[in-house]
């Protein structure tokens, strides 16, 4: 019997049951929480009492009301929310300091700490960064006169330098550019002195033919470009 039918029957009914002791047991009857004696008492009464059967139907409908679950995210967040509110209440006012900012922010504290550390390190590097590593490694020339002493003063007119100063500058330059010279290496020196005919002589006849063909093609392309350029310039004039 659904609730509407039950309600209609209630409207038509005139006999009301006054057995309150039985009625008080009805919720427990629905929950299957009655002992044998009480259970028998209630079931016997229900066989003959329509008013109590209707009441049981009403209670059953009420008991079936379900509660939707708001979800795990809600349950997980609740203790933290309550804690923050209690803490804010305990301090007497809702302060807005860095600690509160950390609490409100969704990121965990370790993430904020790492970010703060990274920012500090970056600022420290910008402010206190060392001079260029190559310059830092440069060893001053082994001489009684330090070239840096007069270069650092300002622009230098080479014609005004004495012979000892020129020798000191040359020694400094020799030391300063030694790594560059080493990096170029002997291959670079060899390349300047190497004859092209020696390289060509190492090629096979087929490779020489292909090279010759490529040179011809490149030459024709260059001539064609030059012709087009010249004709365009004439057209403009």
């Amino acid at each position: 019997m659904n609730f509407r039918q039950s309600a209609i029957q209630c409207r038509e009914k005139t006999v009301k049951c006054r057995k309150t002791d039985i009625k008080e047991l009805l919720p427990a009857y629905l929950e299957h929480g009655l002992g044998n004696t009480s259970l028998a008492l209630v079931e016997d009464h229900l066989k003959t009492c329509e008013d109590c059967r209707d009441e049981l139907s009403l209670l059953s409908m009420l008991g079936e009301e379900t509660v939707p679950d708001p979800g795990e995210a809600f349950w997980d967040a609740l203790p933290g929310r309550v804690y923050r509110e209690v803490q804010a209440g305990a301090s007497g006012k809702k302060t807005f300091g860095f600690a509160r900012l950390f609490d409100l922010a969704p990121a965990p504290r370790w993430a904020w700490a790492t970010t703060a550390l990274a920012i500090t390190a970056m600022l420290s590097f910008i402010i206190f960064r060392p001079s260029h590593p190559e310059l830092a490694r440069t060893v001053p020339p082994d001489t009684s006169m330090v070239f840096d002493d007069f270069v650092s003063v300002g622009p230098v007119n080479v014609a005004e330098l004495s012979s000892s100063e020129l020798i000191a500058a040359a020694r400094w330059a020799q030391n300063a550019f030694a790594p560059v010279r080493d990096a170029i290496g002997e291959d670079g020196a060899d390349a300047r002195e190497r004859d092209l005919s020696e390289d060509l002589s190492n090629l096979s006849p087929e490779e020489l033919d292909r090279l010759s063909e490529m040179i011809k093609i490149k030459e024709q392309e260059a001539r064609e470009k030059l012709r087009i350029k010249t004709s365009n310039e004439k057209g403009l004039v």
Partner: protein, 192 residues
């Protein structure tokens, strides 16, 4: 409730883990009761949070005269009563809510939903104490002596409120037109 005693002592000492554990222990059952009383998530979650805040803010004043659970429920019930008094919203069933078709199950669903709405409205029209007593007894499965403790009354009063609540529910549901929520049925009130 020795477990609660230990958790409360640790919470008072400032232990965050104990605090969280107490909230987690009661949050779901308290929410269920509040949802049944208030019929929507927004109000239920709001009162749930407020109840916990009030309980923990006054934890130093808690003297273990009752269990922590009873104390927490009492706070939540009182807060929910205030919300209910201020409320004027009425949920109505509209045919637009249900797609009508030739499938007889859809009509059944409509009747079922309408019955639910009628029931909620009837419940909402009960005086506070009767409504809460009925919810605690039928929906929460609390015994009358527990309800008496929660409602701060005698067991006899709790039973009387229960009987009047059921009687009034029947009366409201027999009426062709339900009064708007917030206007209890005129005549015999019966609230003790």
């Amino acid at each position: 409730m020795d477990e609660d005693l230990e958790l409360i002592t640790r919470t008072r000492a400032g232990e965050r883990e104990a605090f969280d554990e107490l909230v987690r222990k009661y949050q779901k059952q308290l929410y269920a009761m509040l949802f049944r009383m208030l019929s929507n998530h927004e109000d239920a979650s709001d009162i749930l949070q407020k109840a916990f805040i009030k309980a923990f803010t006054g934890l130093d004043r808690f003297e273990f005269r009752s269990s922590f659970r009873t104390w927490l429920y009492q706070i939540a019930i009182n807060l929910a009563k205030n919300v209910y008094r201020d409320r004027s919203r009425v949920e109505r069933v509209s045919l637009d809510d249900v797609v009508l078709g030739r499938d007889p199950r859809i009509v059944e669903k409509l009747i079922h939903k309408e019955n639910r709405q009628l029931l909620r409205r009837a419940l909402a029209n009960l005086p506070d104490k009767q409504r809460i007593t009925l919810i605690l007894r039928v929906q929460e499965g609390r015994k009358f002596d527990e309800i008496a403790e929660l409602m701060n009354c005698s067991t006899g009063t709790a039973k009387t409120n229960y009987h009047f609540a059921v009687k009034k529910m029947k009366k409201i549901l027999r009426e062709d037109e339900l009064p708007p929520i917030g206007n209890p049925v005129p005549g015999e009130d019966g609230e003790v």
